[in-house]
Symmetry: C2
Subunit: 311 residues, 2 copies
């Protein structure tokens, strides 16, 4: 089957949404930049839009004939990249329980269960290994290290080290740096969210990532910036998984962020340090409380069929 055309389908859907706003589409290169795809893909999109009567296309003229209808869109599930499909599938298994430290991961079986080739699974596992949750035995299988309390503690230890340093670097940035405008924008978004937290509390996770990435970037250190991928990934699944008291947790976090932002704006190293520490401490608590320590217990004779097999 070689390669799915999800890049095309996803870009097509995004292009459809663009149609609502304008009378005619821009040039091919411009569309390419806008959608983040090559001109080859842009032309495929335009071809289909012409075929389905969405636009009239003649060279530079791309006139919108009608607005997009629901049936024009490709189904959501066809727009995901293989890597995303594998990651979701893998994480579901990992968090579903019954996946404990020490278990073996079987590439072939994982591939079969998800319905993809082994190569894609192998590449996924290699990429995923940097998150510290799995480990490769040379010439042999992968071993699951488990989403344990130890993992969470090690992760947060580094996070705190990195963020304290980044926050200090942030506060020391010159007055005319562009980051202060970014920070202002974030502050406004935080205030907006805070004022309607009862309804929009689930929008916090996106804001959270934006905020912390901005701070980490101030370190000007690629290892610190890259490490935030690990945190983001863990928190992403953590948010999906642990919905207990979500509203209240996020409400607290928004307030901590606002205090943290104020401290940064004051540019007082002591205040920054204190606000940063306070927020990181409660973030750690939140993460730790979501890890049931009792998960280690398991039926001793479990015929663990599936991807994760007893070692």
């Amino acid at each position: 089957m070689s390669k799915s055309n999800n890049v095309y389908k996803d870009a097509f859907n995004r292009c459809l949404r663009l149609l609502d706003e304008t009378q005619s589409l821009p040039s091919e290169p411009e569309l390419g930049t806008l959608l983040g795809v090559s001109r080859t893909t842009v032309r495929s999109i335009l071809s289909r839009m012409e075929e389905t009567g969405l636009i009239a296309w003649n060279k530079r003229n791309k006139t919108v004939l009608r607005g997009p209808r629901p049936e024009d869109f490709f189904p959501e599930e066809e727009t995901d990249s293989l890597a995303e499909i594998i990651e979701r599938s893998f994480m579901r298994r990992l968090l579903a329980g019954g996946a404990e430290a020490g278990m073996q991961i079987n590439e072939l079986e994982l591939a079969r269960e998800i319905g993809v080739g082994t190569t894609s699974v192998r590449e996924f596992l290699i990429r995923f290994s940097r998150f510290g949750l799995i480990e490769k035995r040379r010439n042999s299988h992968w071993v699951l290290k488990g989403f344990t309390r130890a993992f969470a503690l090690e992760l947060t230890e580094i996070r705190e080290m990195f963020e304290l340093r980044s926050a200090a670097a942030f506060a020391a940035l010159p007055e005319d740096s562009a980051v202060w405008a970014d920070l202002d924008r974030l502050e406004i978004d935080h205030r907006r969210l805070a004022s309607d937290i009862a309804n929009r509390f689930n929008e916090f996770s996106e804001l959270d990532e934006r905020f912390h990435r901005l701070i980490h970037r101030a370190s000007h250190n690629r290892f610190i910036v890259d490490f935030y991928d690990v945190i983001a990934m863990i928190f992403h699944y953590h948010y999906q998984w642990n919905k207990a008291e979500e509203r209240q947790r996020n409400e607290v976090a928004v307030q901590e962020h606002l205090a943290y932002i104020a401290a940064l704006k004051s540019r007082d190293p002591g205040k920054v340090d204190a606000a940063c520490r306070k927020h990181l401490k409660s973030a750690r608590q939140t993460l730790l409380s979501s890890i049931p320590e009792g998960r280690q217990a398991q039926p001793a004779d479990g015929t663990l069929s599936g991807t994760f097999a007893r070692a």
Copy 2:
């Protein structure tokens, strides 16, 4: 061609060296553990040893008939794994010069030049990406970030953060921890090397890695331990590449290590911190001095054929 049998060949060579020391070989499972391979591979090795008249093999009896001769060994270059071959080849290109920040890396061409399949190259690049020297453009090529001064500074910043913390944790380890014996052994090896530094200075890099890995392990943090892979990789190639004043540099480093070891043994946090800082500072200097800042300059019309192409 599917898969080379380098695991077998490498294990065979190592097994040959074992032959020199004993009259008869141990059981198959035991040999497997000793060589770090499966019994399947052990049996292939024994088969060949029987065929070439090295041993007489009858079930449990594996009598050594003669010592190994040079022609019994497989050639060194056939014992390397594909991953090693690709890494060496890639690093040679990277350090050979003409490889600057911003250049594109072409999987297909790299694969052709090395004479391997694209899959292996892809997997190598994914694994290698965690070192922070290359970066992937989604759905497109890899970009070389370059072995620059900025890279070295970012690397050492993290290293210093991690090692200071690890060293402090090390010194706080209980008296009965096994690490103190490891440290004693390392101290002895350092003294031995110091006493004959004029001849054995090139043995330092191996000792260096052993020492720092021991310290990092005291952090009990997988991210810190794993990060040492980045440092080890960089220093590995750096040692091969920059031979200038190697003897003198290593001589200094050995003495710093000894002072560092003494500080750890004193378990005085202040002394540990000072000794660690001092050594890390000179390590950073060594690394920085080996990066010629002028490497940015390049002929403007360079027809950069090969793996790294102008962006």
